[in-house]
């Protein structure tokens, strides 16, 4: 396993060696991940929705007629009654406004992914940095950041979003930022700080100080990399939370979005079909099942990653 490097071409080959080492640890973790059943299931669901999301624009450009299949303004002229049950041309039927359900489902999948990932990246970036800084400096800095985090945790997220969307109109992008900031300064920074506390007392931090390393060097070279596994884990759970919040808000009709899974349920409810689920199942099930599946798939992947990074949970 020893990797050698020739000093003549040190700089580029050093990069190559680092890349090889990163790939090696990635391969090891990947095989551990594949060993967990829930992780594989979760990943399969994610991939399924990813394919749905990516194939929507292709279908719209090739097979589907824009006037009929557009997820927002299309109308199924080929059906006599709306909502129409599933048929050859509309695999999941149409909604009360005559729009194709499958097209809506696929179109929404893309924005759900973007929303979830953006919210998660914002959360984890803020949480990791704040947690590492609070743990490294301690004292007053720690107190201020953690009391602020307490404040964020106490904030009733959904209620705030309701107020905000009433005031300024919230779309997917703003929603992702708000969720990211709330949970980044809140739960994520508290969790990651507690992990960082166990890193800052390690002798290698002292060794770095003895070497002359300043706070930025110690925080970003030593503390943050040791928090990354937990950060990624938290990222997965944030995706779940973000998609779920989005579904709730758009079901309540509080989001300024043109199409989403939550909005599909909202349309059904507004047209009065929500209590006749047995008869009009295609109006509810595709969207609600998608919310459930995608949320749980990220959660499953998170749990599997937990097993990968935490050897005590591993089944031997």
């Amino acid at each position: 396993m020893a990797v050698e490097v020739a000093p003549q071409s040190a700089a580029p080959s050093l990069r190559r060696v680092r890349f090889a080492l990163a790939m090696r640890s990635l391969r090891e973790n990947w095989s551990l991940f594949l060993g967990t059943r829930i992780g594989v299931i979760g990943l399969a669901i994610i991939l399924f929705y990813l394919v749905l999301a990516l194939s929507h624009p292709i279908l719209m450009n090739t097979v589907w007629d824009e006037r009929i299949y557009d997820p927002v303004v299309g109308y199924a002229f080929d059906e006599t009654r709306q909502p129409a049950p599933p048929s050859r041309s509309h695999l999941l039927g149409t909604d009360p406004l005559g729009r194709d359900i499958l097209s809506q489902l696929m179109h929404s999948a893309r924005s759900e992914f973007l929303l979830g990932l953006l919210a998660a990246v914002v959360t984890v970036t803020i949480g990791t940095t704040v947690g590492a800084i609070a743990a490294y400096y301690g004292g007053v800095v720690d107190t201020i950041l953690m009391r602020f985090a307490d404040l964020m945790v106490m904030m009733p997220g959904i209620s705030i979003l309701i107020v905000l969307s009433a005031l300024i109109g919230v779309e997917h992008f703003e929603l992702a930022l708000i969720i990211g900031i709330l949970s980044g300064f809140g739960g994520a920074s508290i969790l990651l700080k507690s992990q960082a506390l166990s890193v800052v007392v390690k002798p290698y931090i002292e060794a770095a100080r003895a070497a002359g390393g300043g706070p930025a060097h110690i925080i970003f070279i030593h503390i943050v990399p040791n928090l990354l596994p937990l950060s990624f884990l938290y990222m997965m759970f944030t995706v779940t939370g973000a998609i779920f919040s989005e579904a709730i808000l758009s079901f309540l009709g509080l989001l300024d979005v043109r199409m989403s899974w939550g909005l599909m349920i909202h349309t059904t409810e507004a047209a009065g079909y929500l209590l006749q689920v047995g008869k009009y199942w295609w109006l509810i099930f595709p969207a609600s099942l998608s919310i459930t599946l995608l949320c749980s798939s990220f959660y499953l992947v998170g749990r599997a990653m937990d097993e990968v990074i935490n050897p005590r949970l591993r089944r031997l």
């Binding site: 020893a2 060696v17 002798p203 002292e206 003895a210 070497a211 030593h222 040791n226």
Partner: protein, 340 residues
């Protein structure tokens, strides 16, 4: 020419480090709202000197302030009071107890530390190259190619051969002895004037201990490095150090030539310490030195000899007077005891 000769001779006469009245008090309870009046006197007025190329052993039981003293010398802990005059004969003598900012970063090239725990003293996510080159990297010494060359040389010097095979390993792929050699390489890569070694062999297997100790002794002789060697093992101190200082509850109670102290310990605590060393010979009979009780408190200790509560020689004079000053009791032996 003559000036240079004078300069070198004056260097030899002046110690590399002169520690004067070094204190470290830790607050015993931290409260943001009340003024703390209870302090743990971890290090309470320590004086010693360390010559160039010399190894001074700092021995004593757990919690006596050995490590805190060592960390103050490399400024991982900020002293509460006292002076540490550092004079490597090149630059101006500086008091490192009050350095901060850029001069402190500069000073870190002259003083390094080897830690006790070979498992936790390296970031598990960084390669051996990153770990050893870290001082060079943060001090911005040399280019990347230079650093690779120097790390390779250093690995060979500490006996990790072939060095190329170790460059891009991770710490968990190495044994305890190998890691401690890496830690030594990291400390020596900036060519420091002195190294604080905090029990570097105490967590190693006995079988690899001597190898690491011999390596440190050889490197000190070859590179002219001074060690402050912190240990609780008198046999290790005897092997590594020409002089030893015995600490008890934040005070140095005896300091002097290693062999002289081991042959004729003057302070009752040193005697007790020596009598506790097992002798691998069942026929040897040595009079045991009786000390009783436990270590007395380090939180605001009373103004009397720190060893009073356990001392077999103590009397009323020791009780009513402050901790005894260090006095010459032998040729090179300095002892802090009224009765010795």
């Amino acid at each position: 020419m003559t000036e240079a000769a004078q300069a070198t001779s004056s260097v030899d006469s002046r110690p590399l480090l002169s520690v004067e009245g070094l204190h470290k008090y830790f607050p015993a309870a931290t409260s943001r709202f009340r003024r703390n009046e209870r302090f743990i006197h971890a290090v309470d007025g320590v004086n010693f000197t360390l010559a160039k190329g010399e190894s001074l052993g700092l021995v004593g039981e757990s919690g006596c302030g050995k490590t805190t003293t060592g960390k103050m010398l490399v400024r991982l802990v900020d002293p509460t009071g006292g002076h540490v005059i550092f004079d490597d004969g090149v630059g101006e003598p500086t008091d490192i107890a009050t350095l901060h900012g850029k001069p402190l970063k500069e000073f870190r090239r002259h003083a390094q530390m080897v830690f006790q725990d070979p498992y936790d003293s390296m970031n598990p996510r960084r390669t051996i190259f990153d770990t050893i080159a870290e001082p060079l990297q943060v001090q911005q010494v040399g280019s990347l190619v230079d650093r690779i060359d120097r790390v390779t040389e250093m690995l060979a010097l500490v006996g990790l051969t072939p060095p190329r095979a170790f460059l891009f390993r991770f710490p968990h792929e190495l044994s305890g002895g190998q890691r401690q050699r890496v830690a030594i390489a990291r400390a020596l890569i900036v060519e420091p004037s002195f190294v604080v070694a905090d029990e570097p062999t105490s967590m190693l297997d006995v079988s690899v201990r001597t190898g690491v100790m011999r390596l440190m002794a050889d490197l000190a002789a070859g590179l002219g490095i001074s060690y402050l060697y912190i240990t609780h093992d008198l046999a290790v101190a005897r092997y590594m150090c020409s002089r030893i200082a015995v600490m008890y509850l934040g005070k140095i109670v005896e300091i002097g030539d290693t062999e002289e102290i081991l042959r004729s310990p003057q302070h009752p605590y040193t005697r007790a310490l020596l009598s506790a060393v097992p002798v691998p010979d069942p026929t040897v009979k040595r009079p045991p030195v009786m000390i009783e009780g436990g270590v007395s408190t380090v939180v605001n200790p009373p103004a009397q000899c720190r060893f009073y509560a356990r001392c077999p020689l103590a009397d009323d004079y020791c009780k009513t007077n402050d901790h005894p000053p260090l006095e010459h009791k032998g040729q090179e032996q300095i002892v802090a005891c009224y009765k010795a």
